[in-house]
């Protein structure tokens, strides 16, 4: 379990993380969403022991991560761009990892490479972004980490590689109860694997919940309105559009009150439909939340 308690971090006087607090349970996949400058990268760097918090703590099963090799050995970290030695090949990196991690298994790396097919003799600087990411992924998985922290792992991957990536990730979580912390802009990717979602903005957590609850922050409703209504001024209505008399409306919440108000406007065949995580984001941003 990863516990982030009252985490604060500032660069000089500029506060980058402000009382960040949440928990990642064992065996779950926890997604984090935040734009550049939101503090997301800083948080990840604090999680991986690169930075030290000014206040608060980050605990892995009760142990702090900073300067703690025992904890760091259990954490795998795949950064958003290749951060390994330019002149080293994957083979060299294997040797490097082997020395640093007691649980490193070269056989496991090779097993994974049977799927990803990266040339182990190619130097890091010769690999593309996607290839570099895959190498990092394999190296870290080969340490059999208890925790895996991923920072924008799928940028630079083609659809096939992406699928392989997630298949393996889900497999590891199921088989070894690995805990995953993943940051991504691809909300549709996060949607199909995450149990919980955290949204960070300006160094603060604005959303932290299981993914279905997060999605339910908006409700998408489809209705038939035969006659074009004069105004659809229903409290809680964020947006609407229509094709002919079929209207798609997005609400902050949709209960009997809203349904009644909608009926008054002439709507019939009112149905709630599935909203995607991406849509939820788009709509909540529009509503100024």
């Amino acid at each position: 379990m990863i516990e982030i308690k009252n985490a604060c971090k500032a660069y000089g006087t500029k506060a980058v993380l402000n009382n960040v607090e949440f928990t990642v349970k064992d065996g779950t996949i926890h997604g984090i969403i935040g734009e550049n400058g939101s503090g997301k990268t800083t948080l990840i760097k604090c999680l991986t022991g690169i930075y030290r918090l000014n206040r608060g703590e980050i605990l892995y099963d009760g142990h702090p991560v900073f300067e703690n090799n025992a904890v760091k050995e259990q954490i795998g970290y795949v950064a958003d761009s290749n951060q390994y030695f330019d002149n080293y090949s994957s083979k060299d990196m294997i040797s490097f990892f082997k020395a640093a991690y007691t649980n490193f298994s070269e056989e496991r790396f090779n097993e994974l490479n049977a799927i990803f097919n990266i040339d182990v003799n190619a130097k890091m600087k010769q690999l593309s972004k996607g290839q570099g990411m895959r190498v990092a992924y394999m190296l870290n998985l080969a340490t059999f980490p208890k925790y895996l922290i991923l920072d924008e792992p799928t940028s630079g991957l083609d659809p096939v590689a992406k699928k392989e990536f997630f298949d393996i990730l889900v497999d590891e979580v199921e088989k070894r109860n690995m805990t995953v912390f993943i940051s991504s802009h691809h909300l549709n990717d996060l949607e199909k694997i995450c149990d919980e979602i955290t949204v960070i903005r300006n160094g603060r957590i604005i959303v932290n919940n299981d993914i279905d609850t997060v999605k339910n922050r908006v409700v998408k409703v489809q209705a038939v309105i035969e006659q074009k209504p004069e105004n659809l001024d229903i409290p809680g209505l964020i947006e609407f559009s229509n094709i002919g008399s079929i209207y798609t409306l997005v609400f902050k919440q949709f209960g009997d009150e809203e349904k009644a108000a909608l009926t008054v406007c002439g709507a019939s065949f009112i149905e709630e439909i599935e909203v995607s995580l991406e849509e939820m984001f788009v709509y909540t941003n529009i509503s100024g939340e």
Binding site: I29, F166, D167, V170, D171, V173, E174, N188, E191, K192, I193, C194, D195, D210, I211, D212, K215, Q222, E271, E272, I273, E274
Partner: protein, 129 residues
């Protein structure tokens, strides 16, 4: 195996439950067959793991599937438990639907044909296999 309608008013988890039952009934799934794990199915169907978990929970409750830790999820062997309360509520619902159909002009033969046809539809492919 599953064909979900994202724009339907029927919740996704319910669609999963019903489609699995349908496939079972049609014989595409047999007792003992392994089905994808929660996460794997979520990935495949592009829905949240929570949604699949909810569907699987219900299916397990009805003893249609069972999960063996460390091995996987399987279609249950053995008979489906008879749930008397569920049967009663389904029949009550049917009564309402039949009444509405009668109002729409359905007579007894038409109703019988209708139910026959539906039943055959669910079971004929099974017989063919």
């Amino acid at each position: 195996m599953f064909d979900l309608d994202m724009n339907s008013s029927k919740p996704i988890y319910q669609q999963i439950i019903e489609q699995l039952k349908e496939n079972l009934m049609k014989g595409f799934l047999k007792p003992g067959d392994e089905i994808p794990s929660v996460r794997k199915l979520a990935l495949e169907l592009k829905v949240t793991p929570g949604t699949v978990a909810k569907a699987y929970q219900e299916l397990e409750r009805e003893h249609i599937i069972n999960t063996v830790r460390g091995r996987g999820t399987y279609i249950s062997e053995g008979e489906v438990k008879v749930d008397k309360d569920k049967i009663n509520s389904l029949i009550a619902g049917m009564k309402t639907d039949v009444m509405n159909l009668i109002y729409q002009g359905y007579n007894k033969e038409m109703l019988i044909d209708l139910v026959s046809g539906i039943y055959d539809g669910y079971t004929s492919s099974k017989n063919e296999n």
